[in-house]
Amino acid sequence: MTLKNNIASLILGIAVISILISIYLALVYTPSHETMGDVQRIFYFHVASAWISYLAFGVTFVAGLLYLKSKDLKWDTVAYGSAEVGIIFCTLAIITGSLWGKAAWGVFWRWEDIKLFITLVLWLVFIAYLALRANAKSRISKANLSAVFGIIGFICVPLSFAANRIWQQYHPTVIATSRGSLQASMAFALVVAVFAFTFLYAYLLLTRVGIEKMRETIEEIKQLIGGQNV
């Protein structure tokens, strides 16, 4: 228990330090963008949030497969925790993305933008995933059904990403805003932000899974107490 707490604190420490560094890099170290000015600084944490949400949903997918293979509920707990953390970051990515879009294009949302679109699809899929879990009738059926749905939802995404390119041909193409090539300092700031958020994600996932485990322990103890009443 203490070892686990130590690991969690270590990860949190790394996350906090690297987040502070990445904020410094994003706000101070990097130059202003040639065309967009300072608003472009949204970009670092927007991309990092989006990346974390993809990672989190990917973890849900893999944990779902592992659960179906091993029937070990531990994997189901990981899948659930990761989906919840993923939804948080996905929401952040969508909000920051649309703020960035408002600054860059003058509109909050562009349906033609494939990355916005896919992020929204993922968001909807995993909202549905959480709704499924809330409506399951037993622990086992919750684990089985949500694993299957998580797998379906996740494998649809790359396909729908690819298919979307074809629908685009028939949309009036809005002139793509070029972000310009990333300068080396900007790329560095982005990498640090992604690194920082990856540790943040690891910490959140550990904590979330830990909470779920505690809930299960409580159920166990309650049963023990109930059993001794007789």
Binding site: T91, L92, A103
Partner: protein, 52 residues
């Protein structure tokens, strides 16, 4: 320069979101830890009663 409001908005939302989520997790964790402690005590109390 009015565009900067979007920058402030985005940063506020990201960090407030992360902060409140961590806060929520910690409150939940504390509560559960206390509950486990309480339940363990009840359980141990029962065991010792039985042994007497």
């Amino acid at each position: 320069m009015s565009d900067l409001i979007y920058l402030y908005g985005a940063y506020t939302i990201v960090w407030a979101g992360v902060f409140f989520y961590i806060l929520k997790l910690h409150i939940a964790q504390r509560k559960l830890e206390n509950e486990i402690k309480m339940l363990r005590e009840i359980l141990n109390g029962k065991k010792s009663k039985k042994n007497l």
